[in-house]
Symmetry: C2
Subunit: 503 residues, 2 copies
């Protein structure tokens, strides 16, 4: 029997998209190497090599032949459900990519380079003014980008959609303000209670022991070292060159064992998702990690719901104590558990607890809206930042390095990115609630060191679908409910009521 | 003043060739990672990614637009000497690449994959018969390739030319047979003398100490760690992603310190060459490492002429002794020197001394000629191999793994490669003689740990020219003499006459 026309065309599409994925994955390796092993002197040529590959990928991803192929396939009725999704999404991305004039692509790349360098320098000199002019140019380009991409209600929507398909300000306005009020109320109750000690978390910890404990934790989560590895880098990250080669990185400081541990579990959560993508869908949307909300829901489920639970550490705390006997042999599990869940408003987002973390996000979200939808003058940014921190977290910013200069995101042109962190946490709590319903002995299993039931559930309900569904669609399919804050609020209330003895 | 037409066209060529180099260097990184850090599971997709990049590179390197550009440039009189060389060589490579039908490119790639797998299996099973049918197909393809490429006298010439531009059987026939006779005569004199002990070279040596000593040696040679690094791999190699990012690898076994040391110096020699290529010529022949003879002349100059000299170890042996006091604190420098220069016929090429090494090469050269120019039946290969080893080295092959299955080259389709190893040694001796004439206090400088004068000389006379000249051309430019065996014979005679007390 000869292959049908549809099957022949679909096969052509797969071939093209696999080749495109090959280029992008080669770029990912060049970037991974840049962060892990590349000697400093290699930077200039490496940048050039990445630019060449990016241009090639852009050309392949916007070629007229690809467009025609997609048009033909869209008309075919014989496609399977997954094939149709793959074709539709590829067509959507194709159309978006086509909208970018190559001048804008180049301008954004160059602006990001300059803006990032200015951010580095501004931090070194503790001078926001060094960063401001480059950030201003970047914001102007992002506004231009938003106009080219189009949006339902306001320009910021176009940027949100870049990080989570279909996400809008309207959606966020229904979720964030009530969540903010609830979190601030819970925070004020907590702050009336005495704080558990956590100084022992900052005791000296040997780096080799830390490294091995990190590997132990990844192993315990189900990370497949035959299909991945861990290395060192300045900032921890996860990358992937195929579902069979997923790399995480970590960093270690001798008095920051806890930072290493939860960063390791966080990246491990991202990595398990990448390892769980269907290899036979390589190159197609069905084989790619979804946009940021789902990805972040995986890292936060592992980092927080599992990795800061009493059940998880009931099993693993003895291993921690054995590796770091001083001072932990004298710290009881319950005290350890309270310390790793300490709630304390602070200046730095990445070091925040599960609760105040989101107040950091809301501050950035408010600022981004003003930058993109309104015309907030750049020089007013530090004052606005500091005022919001005083208002929401009651902390005083005395140095912009710990204030408006603390995140790298804006220097890369990543605006509309921060909200996905909070949505990822909300979704993680929804998965967690669903997991507890479907696997009723979950805490008991965790307390016995079993994580495979969780991983299998995630593989089946989430990882296996790649990016075929948005976070909202997947959430409804799996939990029957929209993506919302209810489960997260139940989760934090239950957790902190117990820890802080609230009622 | 507007740019001249020539300058505009030349700039276009440079842009195209730099992009092509970017792709090839990305491939080099993918291959480096495959040999150093890639988890096993990543192999399948990595192979696919490399194939995609190779196809892209081939397409870019044979595009009709590139051909037209080169034709136009060939007519321009205003090119500088280096520009003209760059254009002419690029045109030469373009024409060669165009000759390959894509079916042959694919057939060669696939045959190499299958042939390599069969070689691995044949070694595991100690069965040449497992390798034979795949090798037979490979030889047939290489004959086909030779016919497509064309040759002056015999098909083997086409394969020699692939590894060293302009190299022919006729050239080798003028050099190899008299050299062989001279080496066999010298070897028989040496074998009549008592052999110095070398058992201490196989004493236990801690791996961490070995690793650090390897880095120490690279540093001592002038390797720039800001523009390169060392990692571990199964088989040592050197690769480069730009002159500012050159990587060497090594391997360590606890009772093979010497193997690590001279492998490290050997790869270091290759790496110094790559680091010395002119960065502003990136992507053009003037910025690329030359073909194999010049590359090998660099590794062997460092490994043998310098790295096995009494002067070099006069300075560095104390560091060796300090790191490996047992047993070396009790071994005198002169005894150490004699041990590391022991001449002893053996079965394995890569472990051979400076003298018998070339007999291993001549055996392979004889066999390759018979395979490509004549019709040697594959099944007769082991017997021919074993007979030649008995005749030339007086050693008995009892297992094909230590015989005809010992080298990986043929499985990759690399025929015509082995002769460049010997030519590299001959050329190294010619550089060495020239160096001694131009830097008269050379031995004294080496004995004081100074290698910079040597490196500077190599940078100026060799590295700076990239692949603009063939080995023969460069040799004449630098030494005023053709590439020949005379200097090498003087070098080995002087060295071994002293060590073995010959007259």
């Amino acid at each position: 029997m000869p292959k049908s026309d549809t099957s022949r065309l679909y096969h052509q599409l797969v071939k093209r998209m696999r080749a495109l994925a090959d280029i992008k994955n080669a770029m990912a390796l060049l970037q991974w190497d840049q962060e892990t092993y590349m000697p400093k002197g290699g930077a200039q040529f490496r940048g050039q090599q990445l630019t060449t590959l990016a241009e090639l990928a852009h050309r392949m991803g916007t070629s007229p032949a690809l467009g025609k192929l997609l048009e033909k396939l869209l008309d075919k009725a014989e496609l399977s459900e997954v094939e149709r999704k793959n074709v539709e999404l590829t067509h959507l991305y194709y159309q978006k990519a086509k909208r970018y004039p190559s001048s804008l692509v180049k301008a954004l790349t160059q602006a990001a380079n300059r803006c990032f360098m200015a951010w580095i320098q501004a931090r070194q000199e503790h001078q926001f003014a060094v960063f401001a002019p480059e950030l201003e140019k970047m914001i102007a380009l992002k506004k231009q980008e938003a106009e080219i991409l189009g949006y339902p209600a306001c320009p910021y929507d176009a940027l949100l959609d870049q990080h989570e398909r279909g996400l809008t300000t309207e959606i966020l306005e229904n979720i964030f303000p009530p969540l903010q009020a609830n979190l601030i109320s819970l925070l004020s109750k907590i702050q009336q209670k005495p704080q558990p000690p956590d100084d022992f978390l900052y005791a000296y910890a040997d780096k080799q022991q830390q490294w091995e404990f990190g590997l132990y934790l990844l192993q315990a989560m189900g990370f497949d070292f035959n299909k991945g590895r861990q290395d060192l880098s300045e900032h921890p990250f996860t990358t992937s060159f195929s579902p069979h080669d997923v790399r995480v990185t970590t960093r270690m400081h001798e008095h920051q064992l806890a930072t290493m541990v939860w960063s390791c579990i966080h990246e491990g959560g991202h990595a398990l998702y990448e390892q769980g993508l269907p290899a036979e869908q390589y190159g197609m949307p069905g084989g790619q990690a979804s946009s940021l909300v789902i990805h972040e829901s995986q890292s936060r489920l592992w980092e927080n719901c599992i990795g800061r639970s009493l059940a998880f550490w009931t099993f693993h705390y003895p291993a921690w104590q054995k590796r770091f006997p001083t001072p932990f042999s004298h710290i009881a599990l319950e005290d350890f558990y309270r310390a790793i869940n300490l709630v304390k408003p602070s200046l730095i987002r990445t070091e925040a607890d599960e609760l105040t973390y989101h107040l950091h996000i809301f501050i950035r979200y408010e600022i981004e809206k003003k930058l993109i939808n309104e015309h907030l003058p750049i020089q007013e940014l530090p004052d606005l930042w500091n005022a919001l921190y005083a208002e929401m977290l009651d902390v005083k910013v005395s140095d912009d390095v710990q204030g408006v200069l603390q995140d790298v995101h804006w220097s890369h042109g990543s605006l509309g990115y921060f909200p996905t962190y909070t949505l990822g946490s909300l979704l993680a709590a929804q998965w967690w609630e669903q997991l507890q319903q479907e696997l009723p002995q979950l805490d008991e299993a965790l307390a016995q060191g079993q994580t495979a039931p969780i991983l299998n559930w995630l593989r089946k309900h989430i990882h296996g679908y790649g990016s075929l569904y948005t976070a909202e669609e997947l959430c409804r399919r799996v939990t029957g409910k929209p993506l919302q804050a209810d489960a997260f609020l139940r989760y934090v209330q239950q957790k902190y009521f117990r820890i802080y003895g609230l009622e």
